[in-house]
Symmetry: C2
Subunit: 116 residues, 2 copies
Amino acid sequence: MNFGKYGVADVRLERLAGQDAEIWAGNAVDERHGGPVTIGFGRYGPGARLEETIAVHDVMIVLDGEVTVTGDGRPVTAGPGEIVYMPEGVAVVIEAGECGAMTAYVTYPHWREARG
Amino acid sequence: MNFGKYGVADVRLERLAGQDAEIWAGNAVDERHGGPVTIGFGRYGPGARLEETIAVHDVMIVLDGEVTVTGDGRPVTAGPGEIVYMPEGVAVVIEAGECGAMTAYVTYPHWREARG
Protein backbone atom coordinates (compact mmCIF):
# COMPACT_ATOMS: atom_id res chain seq x y z
CA MET A 1 0.00 0.00 0.00
CA ASN A 2 1.56 3.27 -1.08
CA PHE A 3 -1.34 5.64 -0.87
CA GLY A 4 0.07 9.13 -0.86
CA LYS A 5 0.86 12.42 -2.51
CA TYR A 6 3.94 12.91 -4.64
CA GLY A 7 5.57 16.02 -6.05
CA VAL A 8 8.77 16.58 -7.96
CA ALA A 9 10.45 17.56 -4.69
CA ASP A 10 9.84 14.02 -3.40
CA VAL A 11 11.96 12.30 -6.05
CA ARG A 12 15.66 12.18 -6.84
CA LEU A 13 16.04 13.19 -10.47
CA GLU A 14 18.79 11.19 -12.19
CA ARG A 15 20.29 11.64 -15.61
CA LEU A 16 18.80 9.07 -17.99
CA ALA A 17 21.41 6.33 -18.51
CA GLY A 18 22.70 5.75 -22.04
CA GLN A 19 21.59 9.14 -23.33
CA ASP A 20 23.58 12.27 -24.10
CA ALA A 21 20.51 14.45 -23.73
CA GLU A 22 19.83 16.66 -20.73
CA ILE A 23 17.03 14.49 -19.44
CA TRP A 24 16.46 13.57 -15.82
CA ALA A 25 13.89 11.20 -14.38
CA GLY A 26 12.91 10.24 -10.87
CA ASN A 27 10.46 7.58 -9.76
CA ALA A 28 8.11 8.26 -6.86
CA VAL A 29 6.45 4.83 -6.98
CA ASP A 30 7.86 1.81 -8.80
CA GLU A 31 8.78 -1.89 -8.61
CA ARG A 32 10.15 -1.38 -5.10
CA HIS A 33 6.62 -0.77 -3.83
CA GLY A 34 4.85 -3.87 -5.08
CA GLY A 35 2.20 -2.30 -7.32
CA PRO A 36 1.82 -2.60 -11.09
CA VAL A 37 2.60 1.00 -12.17
CA THR A 38 5.56 3.33 -12.02
CA ILE A 39 4.88 7.00 -11.24
CA GLY A 40 7.53 9.67 -11.59
CA PHE A 41 8.67 13.04 -12.78
CA GLY A 42 10.87 14.06 -15.71
CA ARG A 43 12.90 17.16 -16.45
CA TYR A 44 14.00 18.01 -20.00
CA GLY A 45 16.61 20.63 -20.75
CA PRO A 46 16.01 23.14 -23.57
CA GLY A 47 15.81 21.23 -26.84
CA ALA A 48 16.71 17.91 -25.21
CA ARG A 49 16.09 15.04 -27.60
CA LEU A 50 15.53 11.34 -26.98
CA GLU A 51 15.02 8.61 -29.57
CA GLU A 52 13.64 5.34 -28.27
CA THR A 53 11.37 2.41 -28.91
CA ILE A 54 9.01 2.41 -25.96
CA ALA A 55 9.24 -0.79 -23.92
CA VAL A 56 6.16 -0.13 -21.74
CA HIS A 57 2.88 1.72 -21.98
CA ASP A 58 4.05 5.23 -21.15
CA VAL A 59 1.73 8.12 -20.27
CA MET A 60 3.47 11.51 -20.20
CA ILE A 61 1.69 14.45 -18.61
CA VAL A 62 3.25 17.83 -19.43
CA LEU A 63 3.34 20.03 -16.32
CA ASP A 64 5.43 22.91 -17.64
CA GLY A 65 7.04 23.84 -20.95
CA GLU A 66 6.46 22.01 -24.19
CA VAL A 67 7.34 18.63 -25.64
CA THR A 68 7.04 17.42 -29.23
CA VAL A 69 6.76 13.67 -29.59
CA THR A 70 6.94 12.01 -32.97
CA GLY A 71 5.43 8.53 -32.87
CA ASP A 72 5.70 6.31 -35.93
CA GLY A 73 6.43 9.43 -37.96
CA ARG A 74 3.54 11.53 -36.68
CA PRO A 75 4.47 14.55 -34.53
CA VAL A 76 2.30 15.93 -31.72
CA THR A 77 3.15 18.88 -29.48
CA ALA A 78 1.88 18.99 -25.91
CA GLY A 79 1.91 21.81 -23.36
CA PRO A 80 0.87 22.13 -19.72
CA GLY A 81 -2.12 19.94 -18.83
CA GLU A 82 -1.84 17.84 -21.96
CA ILE A 83 -0.99 14.16 -22.18
CA VAL A 84 1.01 12.14 -24.68
CA TYR A 85 0.28 8.42 -24.72
CA MET A 86 3.06 6.17 -26.02
CA PRO A 87 1.86 2.56 -26.24
CA GLU A 88 4.36 -0.25 -25.87
CA GLY A 89 6.40 -0.82 -29.00
CA VAL A 90 5.98 2.58 -30.63
CA ALA A 91 9.17 4.20 -31.97
CA VAL A 92 9.31 7.76 -30.69
CA VAL A 93 11.45 10.86 -30.88
CA ILE A 94 10.88 13.13 -27.89
CA GLU A 95 12.05 16.74 -28.19
CA ALA A 96 11.65 19.38 -25.54
CA GLY A 97 10.82 22.94 -26.52
CA GLU A 98 13.33 25.77 -26.28
CA CYS A 99 12.54 26.38 -22.63
CA GLY A 100 12.68 22.70 -21.72
CA ALA A 101 9.88 20.89 -19.97
CA MET A 102 8.75 19.32 -16.73
CA THR A 103 6.63 16.19 -17.00
CA ALA A 104 5.02 13.52 -14.88
CA TYR A 105 4.78 9.95 -16.11
CA VAL A 106 2.86 6.80 -15.40
CA THR A 107 4.04 3.54 -16.93
CA TYR A 108 2.64 0.01 -17.00
CA PRO A 109 4.49 -2.15 -16.38
CA HIS A 110 7.59 -0.71 -14.68
CA TRP A 111 9.82 1.14 -17.16
CA ARG A 112 13.07 0.66 -15.30
CA GLU A 113 12.69 -3.13 -15.30
CA ALA A 114 11.77 -3.13 -19.00
CA ARG A 115 14.60 -0.79 -19.99
CA GLY A 116 17.21 -2.67 -17.98
CA MET B 1 -1.99 1.53 -31.29
CA ASN B 2 -3.29 4.83 -29.95
CA PHE B 3 -0.22 6.97 -29.91
CA GLY B 4 -1.31 10.56 -29.60
CA LYS B 5 -1.85 13.72 -27.63
CA TYR B 6 -4.89 14.25 -25.46
CA GLY B 7 -6.28 17.33 -23.76
CA VAL B 8 -9.43 17.97 -21.78
CA ALA B 9 -11.00 19.39 -24.94
CA ASP B 10 -10.68 15.96 -26.55
CA VAL B 11 -12.94 14.17 -24.08
CA ARG B 12 -16.65 14.28 -23.30
CA LEU B 13 -16.95 14.97 -19.59
CA GLU B 14 -19.85 13.05 -18.06
CA ARG B 15 -21.34 13.29 -14.59
CA LEU B 16 -20.07 10.38 -12.49
CA ALA B 17 -22.89 7.84 -12.21
CA GLY B 18 -24.21 7.00 -8.73
CA GLN B 19 -22.87 10.17 -7.13
CA ASP B 20 -24.59 13.36 -6.07
CA ALA B 21 -21.38 15.32 -6.24
CA GLU B 22 -20.50 17.73 -9.04
CA ILE B 23 -17.85 15.50 -10.53
CA TRP B 24 -17.34 14.87 -14.22
CA ALA B 25 -14.98 12.45 -15.90
CA GLY B 26 -14.06 11.76 -19.48
CA ASN B 27 -11.84 9.02 -20.83
CA ALA B 28 -9.44 9.76 -23.67
CA VAL B 29 -8.04 6.23 -23.87
CA ASP B 30 -9.71 3.16 -22.35
CA GLU B 31 -10.92 -0.41 -22.86
CA ARG B 32 -12.23 0.54 -26.30
CA HIS B 33 -8.66 0.98 -27.53
CA GLY B 34 -7.17 -2.37 -26.60
CA GLY B 35 -4.41 -1.23 -24.23
CA PRO B 36 -4.06 -1.90 -20.49
CA VAL B 37 -4.54 1.62 -19.09
CA THR B 38 -7.30 4.19 -19.00
CA ILE B 39 -6.33 7.84 -19.44
CA GLY B 40 -8.75 10.68 -18.83
CA PHE B 41 -9.62 14.00 -17.32
CA GLY B 42 -11.74 14.92 -14.30
CA ARG B 43 -13.53 18.08 -13.26
CA TYR B 44 -14.56 18.68 -9.65
CA GLY B 45 -16.96 21.43 -8.66
CA PRO B 46 -16.16 23.59 -5.61
CA GLY B 47 -16.13 21.37 -2.54
CA ALA B 48 -17.29 18.31 -4.46
CA ARG B 49 -16.93 15.19 -2.35
CA LEU B 50 -16.68 11.52 -3.31
CA GLU B 51 -16.38 8.54 -1.01
CA GLU B 52 -15.26 5.31 -2.61
CA THR B 53 -13.24 2.16 -2.27
CA ILE B 54 -10.88 2.27 -5.20
CA ALA B 55 -11.37 -0.72 -7.53
CA VAL B 56 -8.24 -0.11 -9.65
CA HIS B 57 -4.81 1.44 -9.25
CA ASP B 58 -5.69 5.09 -9.74
CA VAL B 59 -3.14 7.85 -10.36
CA MET B 60 -4.61 11.36 -10.09
CA ILE B 61 -2.58 14.29 -11.40
CA VAL B 62 -3.87 17.69 -10.25
CA LEU B 63 -3.76 20.16 -13.15
CA ASP B 64 -5.62 23.06 -11.55
CA GLY B 65 -7.16 23.83 -8.17
CA GLU B 66 -6.75 21.65 -5.12
CA VAL B 67 -7.91 18.22 -3.98
CA THR B 68 -7.72 16.66 -0.54
CA VAL B 69 -7.75 12.88 -0.53
CA THR B 70 -8.08 10.93 2.68
CA GLY B 71 -6.86 7.37 2.25
CA ASP B 72 -7.30 4.90 5.08
CA GLY B 73 -7.79 7.85 7.41
CA ARG B 74 -4.72 9.82 6.30
CA PRO B 75 -5.40 13.10 4.46
CA VAL B 76 -3.14 14.57 1.78
CA THR B 77 -3.73 17.78 -0.17
CA ALA B 78 -2.44 18.12 -3.72
CA GLY B 79 -2.22 21.15 -5.97
CA PRO B 80 -1.14 21.73 -9.59
CA GLY B 81 1.65 19.40 -10.69
CA GLU B 82 1.19 17.04 -7.76
CA ILE B 83 0.04 13.44 -7.89
CA VAL B 84 -2.12 11.37 -5.59
CA TYR B 85 -1.69 7.61 -5.91
CA MET B 86 -4.64 5.49 -4.82
CA PRO B 87 -3.75 1.81 -4.93
CA GLU B 88 -6.47 -0.76 -5.56
CA GLY B 89 -8.55 -1.46 -2.48
CA VAL B 90 -7.86 1.72 -0.54
CA ALA B 91 -10.91 3.46 0.95
CA VAL B 92 -10.77 7.13 0.02
CA VAL B 93 -12.65 10.35 0.50
CA ILE B 94 -11.88 12.85 -2.26
CA GLU B 95 -12.76 16.47 -1.60
CA ALA B 96 -12.14 19.31 -4.02
CA GLY B 97 -11.03 22.70 -2.71
CA GLU B 98 -13.31 25.73 -2.64
CA CYS B 99 -12.45 26.61 -6.25
CA GLY B 100 -12.89 23.04 -7.49
CA ALA B 101 -10.24 21.20 -9.41
CA MET B 102 -9.21 19.87 -12.79
CA THR B 103 -7.37 16.57 -12.83
CA ALA B 104 -5.95 14.00 -15.19
CA TYR B 105 -6.02 10.31 -14.30
CA VAL B 106 -4.36 7.10 -15.33
CA THR B 107 -5.80 3.81 -14.11
CA TYR B 108 -4.69 0.20 -14.37
CA PRO B 109 -6.71 -1.75 -15.18
CA HIS B 110 -9.67 0.10 -16.72
CA TRP B 111 -11.77 1.87 -14.07
CA ARG B 112 -15.02 1.83 -15.98
CA GLU B 113 -14.96 -1.96 -16.32
CA ALA B 114 -14.07 -2.37 -12.64
CA ARG B 115 -16.68 0.09 -11.41
CA GLY B 116 -19.43 -1.37 -13.60
